[in-house]
Each structure stands twice: as structure tokens, then as C-alpha cells.
Symmetry: C2
Subunit: 417 residues, 2 copies
């Protein structure tokens, strides 16, 4: 019943369900969907359901030009997908989660349970394309027998209107197996690593051969977690600071002497902690804190997604970007001091903001209720003036600075509220 690479050439179809039809879900879904090769992508939408169910997804990409993506099936909710007549007989081969990671608001693993249970126990592979660290744990706990592939993307894309997705730059998606966060220490988790590794290889192959991505990358478990922590190094520093500093963009932060010292301190904390937690050094190709800061100087106009969320009164990904890193490090005896301070302050600020918002609703009952707190897709937006090439690329001048691109991608988008 397990998936394996040879299936690509087999007549048996591969069924992939994307949970979250935002920019990331639509872009990567469109790269995998190849009915002629028996690979079928379906989407669970939210507010954009009507449009996509009727017209499919229109892609305007920097890398592949403009094209239409007509998913095999489109569902208005997970429950609808679970109850649909047109669901695959054996359940889904891959369930790809691309929603914003908000464990303090919703439990993604509980949400996808009806979908996972459509397949025989342990069959569906769960793929998580989300920000943060520690996002795999709830899935691991709820689905102890399912392979998990955890993925980090640096794509810069945005949904400019319902069903219309613009990819601005970058395509890279890095993937690897997740068993127990340590690379598999028991026979049971070792088996999970093996299965998820085969799934990773299959996804890399599908993305590369069918999707024509040049940088779908495979890592081992510790390797992909190091990539996640490296992204934390950037996001946990830049994102909350942009909010707490009163609403400051990326370049303005790194050109303020004190803020730069603070940001470097945050990054260095993570740079020292992650290898201690994971038992392996960062790959040399990943940008060091000073390189990240240097590159960010030119990212004028760029705003971290968390600041955009804050400005629009939306929930921020602070648990997966700050809370989980702090807690995971603590379990390993490492204190992330600056990150803990940012976490404590921003968590409180968000709670008070939400309490005040609730009071406003109570006091002004005629106002329309604010939209449900969970956004349907991650914020992946683009800087006004993205930098093509970092000043001191570490792998080669024609490539972006490895691991530093995330700071260039994020800019304000028109509010949906």
C-alpha cells in the first residue's frame, strides 16, 4: 500500500489534495497537476471557492509565464472534501497543508483528520508547506503511522484577486522527511523516515520532471529542520521586531543602529541554538546573520508579513515563529533570550488587541462581525523592489543569497478585510 517512486510510471493515479488554495497552494498545486501523467491535484478553498470552482486558477508567473490551472476537484471545505463522491477510492496519496500556521487558533491536524481517515490507516502522506518550527508535532501525535514530509518554500507570490495568483520570483521548495524531529531513533520512527523519504523523492521528481522546477530540493530529516531553523533565524528576528518597533519595514530596521544590533542578537541566538538542538551545524551555504542584515539593507519598501497581519488586525504566526522555537530550545536546555522577550511582548500585544476588538464589536453591535480569524492562505507577498542578486552571494553571483530571500519577499498587500 505504500507509495514508491516507480508509481510515477505506473498507471495507478496519484491523488494530491491541497488544503489552502492561496498563492502558495495554487502555485505548487499547479506545478504538480498533470492529468496526462495520472497526477491529479484537487483544492480545498475558502473565500475563493466560487471563483475557482467555476473558472479554475489563473496563474501569472515570472518563471513559467501565464497559464490556467484546472484542478481535478475543488471543495469549499475539508468536510466537503471528506464527504465528496468524487474523492479517490483509496483516499489521498498526499494531503498538502499550505494554510497559515496558527496553532493557537486552530489545530490543523484535527482539521485534516476526516481527510486522512478516508485512506487506510497510515497511508496518506501529510505534506506541510508552512512557516515556523514545531509545526509537525501535532500531526505526528495525531497520526503516528502516517509519513510526514515537511517543506520550506521561498516563493514570492500573491493572490491578487480570487483565483488569480501572481508569482513574482523564486520557486525553491526544500523538502524532507519528519519522523520524531531527530531523524528516527526507534524501529517505528525509522520506518516512518524511510516512507517519508520515498515520498520526498517522489515529490522532488514530480516537481522537477512535471513541474519543471529547478530547485525542488531533498534534505534528510535533520537537514530540512536546519533549513526551517535558518528561516526562523530571519523571520523570528525581522517579523516581530517590525511590529514592536512601531511598524518598521525591513530596510529601515537594519539601517537603524540599535535595531540592527538587536536583530543581529536575535539571529545569533538562533544560529547558536539550532545546531545544539539538532546536533548538526548549519550548511555553509546558508547565509550568516551579518550577510542577512547586509542583504536586507537594500530591501527598501519590504515589510514582514507579520507586520502586514498586524496592520490589518489579523492573527500573526507568532506561535510557530517565536513560541515553538523558544519552547523547543528550552526543552534542550537552551535559552533564546531575545526571542523569548519578543514572544512574551508580542503575544500580550496581540491578546490585548483582540480583546479590544471584541469590546468594540460588543459596543457597536450593528457593525459587521470581523471575518473568522483564520486566513485561508499564508501571506506570501513581494517587496516593491526585490533584489535580484545579493551583494555577496555565497554560492555564486547568479543565485540569490541562500536563505536570505525571505526578507525580500514580504511587502504590503491590499487588505482583504
Amino acid at each position: 500500500m505504500e507509495l514508491d517512486e516507480s508509481r510515477i510510471a505506473q498507471p495507478r493515479p496519484i491523488h494530491i489534495l491541497f488544503i489552502g488554495a492561496g498563492a502558495v497552494g495554487c502555485f505548487y498545486g499547479s506545478r504538480l497537476h498533470r492529468p496526462e501523467a495520472n497526477v491529479f491535484v484537487s483544492l480545498v478553498c475558502r473565500s475563493n471557492y466560487d471563483t475557482i470552482a467555476r473558472d479554475g486558477v489563473q496563474l501569472k508567473t515570472h518563471t513559467f509565464g501565464d497559464y490556467q490551472f484546472s484542478p481535478r476537484a475543488v471543495y469549499p471545505s475539508i468536510q466537503a472534501a471528506a464527504e465528496a463522491d468524487n474523492a479517490p477510492n483509496q483516499g489521498w496519496d498526499y494531503v498538502v497543508v499550505t494554510t497559515k500556521a496558527l496553532p493557537d487558533v486552530t489545530d490543523d491536524s484535527k482539521d485534516i483528520e476526516p481527510i486522512i481517515k478516508q485512506a487506510p490507516e497510515g497511508r496518506s502522506c501529510i505534506v506541510l508547506i508552512q512557516n515556523g518550527v514545531g509545526i509537525e508535532e501535532p500531526h505526528r501525535k495525531r497520526f503516528p503511522k502516517n509519513p510526514i514530509v515537511t517543506a520550506v518554500t521561498i516563493v514570492s507570490a500573491e493572490q491578487i484577486s480570487h483565483g488569480v495568483v501572481k508569482q513574482n520570483r523564486w520557486t525553491r521548495i526544500s523538502m524532507g522527511p519528519y519522523s520524531d524531529g531527530l531523524g528516527g531513533t526507534t524501529p517505528a520512527t525509522k520506518t516512518l523516515v524511510e516512507r517519508a523519504t520515498r515520498s520526498t523523492k517522489q515529490l522532488v521528481k514530480l516537481f522537477t520532471e512535471h513541474g519543471k522546477l529547478r530547485d525542488a530540493e531533498e534534505y534528510d530529516e535533520v537537514g530540512i529542520l536546519l533549513v526551517r531553523w535558518h528561516k526562523i533565524c530571519i523571520n523570528a528576528a525581522m517579523n516581530p521586531s517590525a511590529v514592536l518597533a512601531g511598524g518598521v519595514g525591513n530596510a529601515d530596521m537594519v539601517t537603524d543602529t540599535e535595531l540592527r544590533t538587536h536583530l543581529r542578537g536575535c539571529m545569533e541566538e538562533v544560529f547558536e541554538a539550532a545546531p545544539a538542538i539538532l546536533g548538526r551545524e548549519f550548511p555553509a551555504k546558508l547565509a550568516k546573520p551579518e550577510q542577512i542584515l547586509k542583504s536586507t539593507e537594500r530591501n527598501t519598501g519590504g515589510k514582514p508579513s507579520m507586520l502586514v497581519d498586524w496592520e490589518h488586525g489579523r492573527p500573526m504566526e507568532l506561535e510557530v515563529i517565536l513560541g515553538n522555537p523558544v519552547r523547543i530550545a528550552r526543552r534542550h536546555g537552551v535559552d533564546l533570550m531575545r526571542l523569548q522577550s519578543l514572544y512574551a511582548l508580542l503575544r500580550s500585544a496581540q491578546r490585548l488587541r483582540d480583546e479590544r476588538k471584541k469590546q468594540e464589536v460588543v459596543h457597536e453591535p450593528k457593525k459587521k462581525e470581523p471575518e473568522a480569524v483564520k486566513a485561508p492562505e499564508p501571506e506570501v507577498v513581494v517587496a516593491e523592489k526585490p533584489i535580484e542578486v545579493a551583494e555577496k552571494p555565497v554560492e555564486g553571483a547568479e543565485k540569490p543569497l541562500e536563505g536570505a530571500e525571505k526578507t525580500f519577499e514580504e511587502a504590503p498587500v491590499p487588505s482583504k478585510l
Copy 2:
């Protein structure tokens, strides 16, 4: 020409000028003013000048009952005091600065120069009753020959209307000489220590014998600086965090698990740094971080003064409470990491707030210009439910927890803007 203790009994008058006729200035000024003993206090006022010039100051005190304070002279500005016909012939014996410490807005040492120059060079003793650390340095630089007495007070008092000052609780004022921040390392600075020590002793005697204060305390130079740093331990943790956490009062902060961890981290940083900087341990009687946190749990309704300033759009004492500690520690090779993060974030937030305020003024030219940024007196306000006795007093059950009272004193006051 030097002051000495014996002068109290001498016929020659002692002339004391308070710069800043807020709650602190009026309270301590009223305790020193004894015309019958040849000790004369004069005041430099600001917005409350007309009232005090006409009616004097009305004191409503917890400790000494209600009484009237009629200063020898009242001036509307420092310049007016410097040019007044009724200024003392030999200049002022003591120039006591009780304004809010805002070195990023005004240079107090430059402001008082006309007053200091009324006396022969090096004669006037400068007394600083202000928050923060490093506040003495600009005075030391500008007036290399004047003795400086640096003072920390925990009085809880407020000016409830122009010229009406309410003292709610506490009277303690701790004083000591300031030469070079190290206790005098050269013959010249040793002389300054000796002179300022005599001035400290005289002030303690005046406060005690004339003013009937039971806790006017004398410290040596390193001792009083340790008291300052201990107050930083509390204020640098509580004050900026209350603002950055979205507007949280004292008790609510310490009962939030993550904020408490953050606050403890801030306090411990200072607790470790100050002895390294000053070469002496904190006195055992000063409360430890956990004791401070514990006591603060019951300070419901109390708000740090910085949060009150923030809520009213006023400048905050962030340079003397955060910037100076961070810079002084850095000079001694110590990184105050959490404090540096707070400093970077709050400084940026304040700057952006002020820029937005300016833009509002530009866009709405008919609105009244906001009041000049420098407040005339430090915010010394009181918690709604001050705690009489800390849960675990370190010196005795009838006394407040040493060094922890500051967190109980601060609460919202009606806005003056």
C-alpha cells in the same frame, strides 16, 4: 567657600533652588524650607508658575498632614531665576534638579548653566533627584569643579492640580556623592568626592532634623550608584515592557507566565551586570528579582509611568532607563541583551509615534500645537491599591520590601494634555 555641616548652625543662610516644581520638587523642597533656621528654598516652575507665585504650594501628605509651603522665591524659568534681583549674592548653595530626565530632548546641564554661573566657579552643589543611570555624566562634563549629589527617591506623590501636591506614601530619599562614577580615582575627583560627601551629609541632616524624614539615607559613590542600578533593575524591566506588551499594568504583567519569564530575565541581566560594572555586590537588603516579581503580583491597577507617558503621547525616559544602562554596560564589556532589545524597539516606536504626530499637525493646521515635549516634573503617581507591606519583607515586616516599592507607586493620573 565650601559648604560644610557646621553651616547649619551658622548665621549664613543656605539657598536652595529646585528646578522643577512638580510633585517631587514641591514635596522635598517643602521639607527643606526652614526660614527660621536660615534655610531658604526657591522654585523654578513652569505651567504652575502663576498659581504657586500667588498662593505657594499646598501639601496634602500622608506622612506629615496638610500644610502650606511658601517658597522664598518663585521663578517662571531658569533664565528668570538667573536674572532675578532677589537671587542670592553668592549664587545658590544647592541647585536641585527634579525634572523628568530626557537627555534626548533637552540637556539639563546646559539648561542650568546660567544658574550655576551665578556662583563662583565650582561653588554650587548640583543635586539630581531623577530616574535612571548615567544622568550625572553631562553635569560632570560641563561643570568639572562642582560637587554633585545624586539622589534616588521612592516617594509616591502627584500634583493633583497646579500648586496642590499629594504625597501618598513613602518618603525615602537615598543620596551620595558623584565624582567620576567610580568613587574618585584622581586627586581632583577625590576632592570632588569629599566635597559632595559633605554636601550629602548636610542634606541628610537638613532632611532629617528640619524635614523630619526618617529615611533620608547617605551612601558612598558606588553605594548610591548600586541603588540607582537596582531601581533600573525594576524600571528597565517593567516600564518598557508595559508599553511594548500592548499596555499592560504591573500585576497583569507578572501574572502572565511568558511576560514574567521575560521580566525576570531583564532583572537578572541587570542584577549580574551592575556589580560587574561597579565592582561591588548589591547590598543584601535590596530585593532580588523573584522577590520583586512576587511583590508586584498584588500591585493590581498599578501602571508604570512610562506607559502613562506613552498613552498620553509624551516623551518617555527611555534614554536614562534603557539607553544609558545598555551603553554603560557595553563600555564595561557586558551585553544587556534583553534591555538592548527593549531599547531598540521602544526607541523606534517612540520616534515613529512622534513622526506621525508631526504629520497630523501638518495635515490639520487648525489644531492646537501639542504642548512642548518636556514635562515640567517627573511622573510620580500612585497605584490604586498600594500594598502596605510586601509579602516577604527582607528587613522586617513593618517595612516595605526594600527597593521594590517603585513598582507599587505608578498608576494612571488624569492627563494634563
